[in-house]
């Protein structure tokens, strides 16, 4: 992913735009992958507010968004922040798991400490280049702090969309999962009648 499309900066731009006249629908046409964040921002803007987090500070949202995008970067499928993982984290820590907020705070503090160790004048993890971010993450990838951030990122990317991550089921689409109440056989390749006839000759006997 190129630094030019760094979603942190782009979201800041969105928020600035949303404060004036732009609609999220229009924004979506200029930068579709950011639709999730834009929607959140749009909801806030329509109420005359900056996007508000219930559990995260603005800096935490930026740092967590940056690390989430290194854990699940954008490829031909959306990256973590594209599908609303930051809003998921905020939702998680405000509703399901408020008790884990101190642990989350510590994890981000550890992340920023590692960032400053790597780049002494770094303001925060979010301010590093993606390469510097990856190098920082490699230095902490076996720690509890990293595991927590990884766990929240993955949960947000693949959770039921009602929790504000996995927008438009983009995470599910990326892996070929479909949430349905009903399936019929054959379920995959190997249980198709002609394939079974070939692979399991004893069934004909």
């Amino acid at each position: 992913m190129s630094h030019a499309t760094d979603p942190v900066r782009s979201r800041r731009d969105f928020i600035a735009l949303l404060g004036t006249t732009a609609s999220t629908a229009w924004l979506a046409t200029i930068w579709p992958p950011a639709i999730a964040d834009a929607r959140e921002a749009g909801d806030a803007a329509s109420q005359g507010q900056a996007p508000r987090y219930r559990a995260l500070t603005k800096q935490q949202a930026e740092d967590f968004g940056a690390v989430a995008d290194r854990i699940i970067p954008r490829d031909d499928a959306p990256g973590a922040r594209d599908v609303g993982v930051v809003f998921f984290a905020d939702h998680l820590l405000a509703t399901f798991s408020p008790a884990r907020k101190p642990e989350f705070d510590q994890a981000l503090a550890a992340l920023n400490e590692a960032a400053r160790k790597h780049v002494p004048d770094a303001g925060s993890f979010a301010s590093l280049t993606p390469t510097q971010q990856d190098e920082t993450l490699r230095s902490i990838e076996t720690t509890d702090a990293f595991n927590l951030l990884r766990s929240i990122t993955i949960s947000g990317y693949f959770s039921h969309p009602s929790h504000r991550g996995n927008r438009d089921q983009a995470g599910w689409k990326a892996i070929g999962f479909q949430d349905r109440m009903s399936w019929t056989s054959p379920f995959g390749y190997y249980d198709q009648p002609d394939v079974m006839a070939r692979l399991m000759p004893w069934r004909r006997a």
């Binding site: 699940i72 490829d75 949960s155 959770s159 399936w183 379920f187 190997y190 249980d191």
Partner: protein, 557 residues
């Protein structure tokens, strides 16, 4: 939580009503006992610590059942501690997972429904004394339980083919329902197992393949393990026994009722129970007899919390074995990547299994054995978190690429095995930590017997062999050092000798004539694999015996 008003309980008992039976726990066992006793004409009150959820409360939402603990014990309210041995200081660790709702673990289980075999009941006779293990024969034999295995299959609704598994023990009736359709993982299992000379068979499941007794058949949505079934196709007690118990007009299911103590009188007879209601108010409910069906952890905990001057070591614990011999079943797990789409996320988790290694050849020098199934029991979050090979990248572009390539093309082999009973593996009351009601937390003390680890290693190798024979393009093993924390068994073992067991062969406490204990805690050995069917067969048998005692005036002693 929503309640369907059309299913409102038909009867309400007052705390002062001296009901015939209070049943503690509305799970796999409690639901069966409640239905059987209510249908026998008794007035039954079931106290369940968890909520009364309906099918409309169930969602395909990993966060809700995981982080949200919708269907299971809630660590923030009921914290636990763990230590490996009694010499260690226990530390905060939520080690055990169990169903905490009306229907209990039968709501969220995978629904593998295996009978034990004849030799599971006589392992002491078979193996003799095994150093470090408290191996004993059961006080009952397979033949005595067989009619109740068949009853469980027909009353609850189980799908399978009698005789398809050549190692299956004798049975008096066929399965009531044909097996569910074979899945891609089942096809691969048949290919691999047959190549190895094993005998794969359709897995018996407590999930109905067709309409049965007013419920519609499985729709293959794939959310069985860890989830509740929106279709009522999983034959949980919530979908089967509980509504039938309520329809008698004699059974009240009282959810959000957390029993803290079983009361006894000066004669040592049970007089009722004290529980916290939904508002955390203490209520004394009178009863002529109590049946504890609270699971292999909560049952011994409740007995230990019910200590009194008369029962200083805990109720029904003159033997000192309440809480001892904790077992979970063992296991081993391996994964594999295949060339084409497996799509394991569709339909039930398991469609084929083998029991060729149910009792290992003595040449291996390992006690016990196990069965193996091929399955896919991941959902998108858990898959990305844990399902990839242990040496796979854990984050970044390569990680994401791998999750995307592997999700639809993997299948897993899971062995379910013996685990030996040991006196030192226990459920006790934590001396310091309290739960949200001020009650002592569950403290688990557990270390595997060396035999167990040898068994897991043996089965890990078989799993890999199977996956390779099935044509995997890549296989990987998961650590055998992470023990299971479900299947809570053995902590109030049954036996003929009051000095070494808690209940007799009809589940009556040796020390207290009007106290019965029916759940996984009754197991003497853990058996070779899946315990739920045996818990429920024992429940049918116990309920019949208890009803007989009550009718003959033999309860109060």
């Amino acid at each position: 939580m929503t309640r369907d008003v059309r299913q409102a309980p038909a009867v309400r008992y007052a705390p002062t009503d001296d009901v015939d039976f209070v049943i503690v726990g509305a799970g796999a066992a409690g639901g069966v006992v409640a239905r059987e006793l209510a249908r026998s004409g008794f007035r039954v009150l079931v106290l369940e610590q968890g909520p009364y959820l309906r099918e409309s409360d169930f969602k395909h939402d990993e966060l809700l059942v995981g982080e949200g603990h919708q269907l299971t014990n809630i660590p923030s309210l009921q914290p636990q501690t763990f230590r490996a041995t009694a010499d260690d200081k226990a530390t905060r660790r939520d080690y055990l997972i169990y169903g905490r709702m009306v229907g209990g673990g039968s709501v969220h289980f995978t629904a593998n429904y295996w009978r034990l075999h004849e030799e599971d009941f006589i392992e002491r006779t078979r193996y003799g004394s095994v150093p470090g293990a408290a191996l004993e024969d059961w006080p009952i034999r397979y033949a005595e339980l067989e009619p109740y295995y068949s009853r469980a299959e027909w009353e609850l609704g189980v799908s399978g083919i009698a005789g398809a598994n050549p190692f299956d023990p004798p049975r008096s009736r066929p399965y009531p329902l044909p097996p569910l359709p074979i899945k891609p993982s089942g096809v691969l299992m048949e290919i691999g197992a047959r190549k190895l000379g094993w005998h794969p068979a359709p897995a018996p499941l407590a999930i109905i393949s067709k309409s049965y007794r007013g419920r519609s058949g499985c729709q293959h949505c794939g959310f069985c393990e860890s989830f509740g079934c929106e279709w009522k196709a999983k034959s949980s007690t919530l979908a089967t026994m509980i509504p039938e118990a309520e329809r008698t007009g004699r059974c009240e299911i009282r959810p959000n009722s957390y029993v803290r103590r079983i009361q006894t009188d000066s004669r040592g007879r049970v007089t009722g129970v004290v529980y916290f209601d939904a508002q955390k108010r203490e209520v004394m409910q009178r009863a002529k007899a109590v049946v504890v069906c609270a699971n292999g952890a909560e049952t011994p905990r409740l007995l230990l919390m019910s200590a009194s001057n008369q029962f200083p070591n805990g109720l029904a614990n003159s033997s000192g074995v309440v809480g001892k011999h904790l077992m979970f079943n063992g296991g081993a797990f391996a994964g594999a990547l295949f060339e084409h789409e497996v799509n394991g996320y569709k339909s039930v988790q398991v469609s084929r299994y083998v029991q060729d290694h149910y009792r290992l050849d003595p040449k291996h020098g390992i006690v016990g054995g196990g069965g193996i199934d091929m399955r896919f029991d991941w959902y998108p979050i858990s898959f990305a978190m844990e399902a990839l090979p242990t040496d796979a990248p854990r984050w970044g572009a390569d990680f994401k690429k791998m999750v995307r390539e592997y999700f639809t093309r993997t299948a897993y082999a899971l062995a379910h095995t013996t685990q030996l009973p040991q006196e030192a593996s226990t459920i006790t009351l934590d001396p310091e930590l309290k739960d949200a009601w001020g009650l002592p937390a569950i403290r688990t003390t557990f270390t595997e017997h060396p035999n167990d680890m040898k068994l897991y290693q043996f089965f890990l190798e078989r799993n890999l062999e199977l996956l390779n024979a099935a044509g995997a393009t890549r296989t990987w093993a998961f650590s055998i050092d992470a023990p299971w924390q479900v299947h809570l068994l053995g902590t109030c073992r049954m036996g003929n000798d009051p000095k070494s067991s808690v209940v007799d062969k009809f589940h009556r406490a040796h020390d207290v004539p009007n106290l019965f204990i029916v759940d996984g805690s009754s197991f003497v050995t853990c058996g070779t694999g899946q315990p739920t069917m045996t818990i429920q067969a024992l429940a049918f048998r116990a309920a019949e015996a208890i009803a007989g005692f009550a009718k003959r005036g033999e309860i109060r002693g």
